[in-house]
């Protein structure tokens, strides 16, 4: 793809030829997008968060469009880890995609059990741990909203997984202090951070005069949330400059991806933009490459966190 320019990136020990990834839950199992571009052309496919058992998810309607954004309440519908590892991962590997498996659990233990299943699977580049799920053991509070619970999840995954596969902890922006959650999960053994998951939102249908979504609340994604994502990336990079960040939230152009890289992201996931443009990841990848070159960078690496260059302290 490039000669003079080094576009590759790393998250922990995992190496990727490009920093552009799909976002979990926004590329299904990969097959669906492969008609639009070869999955091997992008950095990696992040699979939708998989749970231990098959799940039917939340009632419909599961989406609402909002100004420059959308709400979703899918509720982690999926076939369960065994079916997923038997069917989806092999297909991705055969098709030359680098694979990051996203896992989600309802208890600290469930995450560890999921991690154990991944230990022996070949062809996986990294594990993304989606901790933005309700913790059934703790009043349904979302793991990622509590530093202790977040730490416990990552700790369990780290121990079970052993030292090989990099762990990317995916954080929620719906917290008072995201940097403190970031610190907790890094201490517990996360090699990288994925920022950000969706914001909790809601739409009232003014015809029915009831919550529009079957699940009442949903996750807000898309360009509307980009300023929140950039802020989170910037803050966390300032607090933990050596921890690689996979940035996401409203990226739909090379300019947007560049914004995240300058803020401190080492990779960028594209979610909602793929819904409006199935080739979005590839298009953004090409645009970003062009922009980085035009700005005179010699490598992606040089641009990571460049917006912090005249600073010493944290942002508040």
């Amino acid at each position: 793809m490039t000669q003079d320019f080094d576009f590759s990136t790393t998250l922990g020990t995992a190496w990727f030829p490009s920093p552009l990834f799909t976002a979990s839950g926004c590329a299904s199992s990969g097959r669906e997008l492969s008609q639009f571009f070869p999955l091997s052309d992008i950095g990696a496919v992040v699979t939708k968060s998989i749970m231990l058992k098959a799940r039917t998810g939340r009632p419909t309607p599961r989406m609402a469009e909002t100004p420059s954004g959308m709400l979703n309440s899918i509720g982690l519908q999926g076939p369960g880890i065994d079916h997923f590892l038997a069917n989806d991962v092999p297909w991705l590997v055969e098709n030359g995609a680098r694979v990051i498996v996203s896992i989600a659990g309802e208890t600290v233990d469930e995450y560890a059990v999921l991690a154990r299943r991944l230990r022996s699977i070949g062809g996986i580049s990294a594990v993304e741990v989606n901790i933005s799920c309700p913790n059934v053991e703790n009043r349904g509070q979302v793991f990622a909203c509590d530093p202790q619970a977040s730490r416990a999840v990552i700790d369990g995954v780290r121990r079970t997984l052993g030292g090989d596969l990099p762990i990317i902890a995916k954080l929620s922006p719906d917290v008072t202090d995201i940097a403190s959650i970031a610190k907790a999960v890094v201490e517990a053994g996360a090699d990288a951070l994925a920022l950000i998951n969706t914001l909790l939102g809601m739409v009232i249908n003014t015809d029915t005069m009831r919550p529009h979504l079957g699940g009442k609340t949903g996750g807000l994604s898309g360009p509307a949330i980009r300023p929140v994502a950039v802020r989170a990336i910037y803050q966390v990079h300032a607090a933990l400059p050596s921890v690689p960040i996979l940035g996401m939230g409203g990226v739909r152009s090379g300019r947007d991806a560049l914004e995240m890289i300058l803020a401190g992201a080492q990779g960028v996931s594209v979610g909602t933009a793929s819904f409006s443009n199935p080739s979005a990841v590839l298009m953004i990848q090409n645009e970003l490459l062009g922009l980085l070159k035009a700005k005179g960078f010699g490598s992606l690496h040089e641009a990571v966190g460049f917006a912090h260059r005249d600073e010493l302290a944290d942002v508040e």
């Binding site: 839950g25 926004c26 590329a27 299904s28 097959r31 669906e32 997008l33 492969s34 008609q35 639009f36 939708k48 039917t56 998810g57 939340r58 009632p59 419909t60 309607p61 599961r62 989406m63 469009e65 100004p67 420059s68 954004g69 959308m70 979703n72 899918i74 509720g75 519908q77 297909w91 098709n95 079957g214 699940g215 898309g222 360009p223 909602t272 793929s274 819904f275 409006s276 443009n277 199935p278 080739s279």
Partner: protein
Amino acid sequence: MSYINSKAEQISSTILSNKRVGQYHQILLNVGAVVKHCRPGNFVVMSVGGENSSLILRRAFAISRTSDRGEYGGTLELIVAPHGSGSRWLCSQPEGATVDLVAPLGTPFGIPTTPVQALLIGGGYGSAPLFGLAEVLKSRGCRVDMILGASTSAKIYAPLEGKRSVSSLKIYTEDGSTGIMGKVIDPLAQLCELGEVDVIYSCGPMGMLAAISTIAQTHEVIHQCAVEESMACGVGICMTCVLPVLKDDGTISMLRSCIDGPVMDGARVQWASVGQSS
């Protein structure tokens, strides 16, 4: 590569004409070679609102008719109801405007291999894909009866040319402004009883499809319906458009109506639990 979306292409398409027909807009699009893969029941998704649009999701529309002849090469036609911001934007686009289109998507109507008696039932703009279907069925030697319904006459879409491919056409309006006052399902049980229907093809509001399914099942008539669920992507990657469907192994699965539909076997859709978590 996968079989999913295997014919789909993302193209920039020019609006060749945009005519008001009753409460709908009949929009003709230049789509080139893509037309070859479009079958009755397939749909397209389209970006709306232009360059700085706050409407970030694509809108889905059934392919009404296609043509690969004529001065423009491949064209396809949509019948669009101005419903909310996105469809109103589309209806207001002038001739010559370009739109970003992904087509064809979804499962088409299944075509019988032997001549059968087919009943096509359309509600509102749901009639759009039925005329193309009728042509195909007729060319296969089927008898094609059609029943269209809507709340009022301006919401009946029944183009003159289309009527040529059907053996009979009955129209029902709830206010009686055209045709018979009533609903499309009113005559259905009787038609089935008379043994005049081998297959029902339907497209329209979910309530109508559910009602048809019940009657079809009672009379053991095959029912292929094109469902319509809220869709964010149209290509199978978002999981918003799911419906509960009975599978061969007896389990109920939440299937994506964009890639496992829109045409589904009405007998398998669990109509009673659509919209509920299971």
